[in-house]
């Protein structure tokens, strides 16, 4: 199998070892794989020659919340602190990052029929790129055993049909070499920027992967992370603006807002947000038990439990202030 990870021991990235980790954790192996890919991709992004602060769900859950009770957020969000006019300004940063990744062997180019596929490469997420002018949507192409699209399907999606003799030959040879056909998983990355630069309060912090009790990287990451109070404030602002139909996003945000009481933050939840949550509480509850990414958190908390604790803390603060 291709090894594009700089943060994990190559021996750990075999089908058997991932199944073994999954068994120890009593989790699906694809989630273990996503975790490995996420942690390594944060490291790859840190190589970009630009000052960035990491934020968002995956950082909150890997940094500020006990790994046993994390919500499994498997995408990367960062903001660029420097002034960036538009996405084009970031092209050279990406070209240089690509070059560094090639030298570090975290990007493996493979050639099929005169065309090239970059395993481990970070590319523009073309379908989503037009969603926002000040968010650079990227994806990292990761080789996997369990999660993602089977390689033949992936190749055919990008224009290399396995009906083509040279593509078919390549796949046969690859199966002989690896003993199986890998899958391709596209990990989502969003980089926010602005003309003035984005200055979320940040500090340097070590990041541990999810399932750190079992998964031990060979390189521990330390990067600039948004400070916890700023994260909470951002999450509340998001709740204020988000459409009520986006129940998954709302449930995610509420899970992450546990930092309000975990860190005893002096932040009040506005009435409008409380009312919004109350209105769609039942729908959020349904999501909470349904998806794999709530699997860890739901072993320790119920959705109602989290909500009441957030509201309770909030009430206490309010009454303290009134006194």
């Amino acid at each position: 199998m291709w090894n594009v990870y700089n943060t994990w021991d190559w021996k750990d990235n075999t089908k058997e070892s991932i199944i073994n980790f999954a068994n120890q954790l009593k989790f699906r192996p694809d989630i273990v794989e996503r975790t490995i890919g996420l942690y390594d991709s944060i490291y790859q992004l840190m190589k970009a020659e630009v000052k960035q602060t990491f934020y968002g769900g995956s950082m909150i859950n890997q940094v500020y919340i006990n790994p046993d009770e994390a919500r499994l957020s498997i995408d990367i969000d960062s903001v660029i602190r420097e002034e960036i006019q538009n996405k084009r300004d970031l092209l050279d940063v990406l070209v240089n990052l690509r070059e560094t990744m090639l030298s570090d062997k975290s990007l493996i180019p493979i050639t099929i029929k005169d065309l090239e596929i970059g395993i481990g490469e970070i590319l523009s997420d073309t379908k989503r790129q037009a969603l926002h002018p000040q968010v650079l949507f990227l994806k990292r192409i990761l080789p996997t055993f369990f999660v993602g699209t089977p390689l033949p399907d992936y190749l055919s999606r990008i224009g290399l049909s396995s009906k083509d003799p040279s593509v078919a030959r390549y796949l046969i040879n690859l199966k002989k070499e690896f003993g199986f056909l890998p899958r391709i998983y596209e990990l989502r990355i969003e980089i926010r920027f602005s003309k003035e630069g984005i200055s979320y309060p940040f500090h340097k912090q070590q990041i541990f992967p999810y399932f750190k009790q079992v998964l031990t990287p060979i390189k521990y990451l330390e990067c600039d992370i948004e400070q916890v109070a700023s994260v909470a404030q951002g999450k509340l602002e998001f709740l204020e603006l988000v459409n009520e139909e986006e129940t998954i996003n709302i449930t995610n945000t509420i899970c992450d807002l546990r930092i309000l009481y975990l860190y005893n933050l002096d932040i009040e939840i506005p009435l409008s947000i409380r009312n919004k949550i109350k209105r769609i509480k039942e729908q959020c509850k349904a999501d909470f038990s349904k998806y794999w990414f709530y699997q860890l958190i739901s072993t320790k908390y119920s959705f109602d439990g989290i909500l009441s604790k957030i509201f309770q803390i909030n009430k206490a603060k309010k009454s303290r202030k009134e006194v």
Binding site: N86, K87, R88, L91, D92, L94, V95, N96, R98, E99, L102, P109, T111, D114, L115, E116, I117, G118, E121, I122, L123, S124, T126, K127, Q129, A130, P133, I141, I158, G159, L160
Partner: protein, 284 residues
Amino acid sequence: MDIINTTTKIKIIETLLQNKKSLGISSIANHAKISVSEIWRQISVLIDYGLIIEENRGPMGRYKKYKININNPLVNIVKELFDQYEKIRKFIHLKPLDACSQFLKKYYITGAYAIKEASWDIFYSDGMMVAVDPKEYEKAKLLKNCYINRWNFILLKKPIEKCDYFYDEDERVFKATFEQAIADSIGSYQLDPNNIEILYFLLVENLDWIKLRELLELQWGDIALKRLYYLFSIARILGGQLYPADIFRPKTYTKGEDPVYTQDAKKSCFRILLCNGIAQEQAW
């Protein structure tokens, strides 16, 4: 310069230079296709300057013959002028491609112009890049300078033996293959930035990448490889995720090198990938 200020005087000199023996007035008039009286009227100035020598042949000097005075320093200058004029006259009214084929032997048409038709004239090229062997470079320079107001010849002085070109039966000129034309355009980018238009062809056609790499490496070296590598790296990031960047990876790659090219390549790449729907229009 009253020695060559009229067509008649030029024709007298031309006739006498072409005919090595002495000629009488009527013979000169015959050759030059000008009336005898006009020759009579104007030949005296040339005699005064010593460009032409009179030879008395008949009794009482009535019948005279004339010949060029090769010892007069002005003659050499005028002769050189005629020689050059003679060379130019042969092609000056020809179309540029015909001029190349008739005037040059070791050459081939390359760059964006060589690919223009194959790409359905989609891109614009206001010049014609001609690769010329060093032995014929001076001749090609003359051609370029004569066409300067009508046609933009861009000359590439390079040994052409190892270049990849063919004889185009339709246009009757030597033309570079697509790969060679692209290699020349990218290698000589600073000579004619207009040739960046060739990137269009590069990004939409499936070419013989191995041959292209060999040509770039052999003829233009690392700088050209870096340019193509950079282009394909951008194209991949922008959404053309099958472009073969790695095959053009140079031995050494310094970040931020060649800023003028990278700026132009980025612009072209955006334009091409956007109009082909590879990158999304609103996005970038």
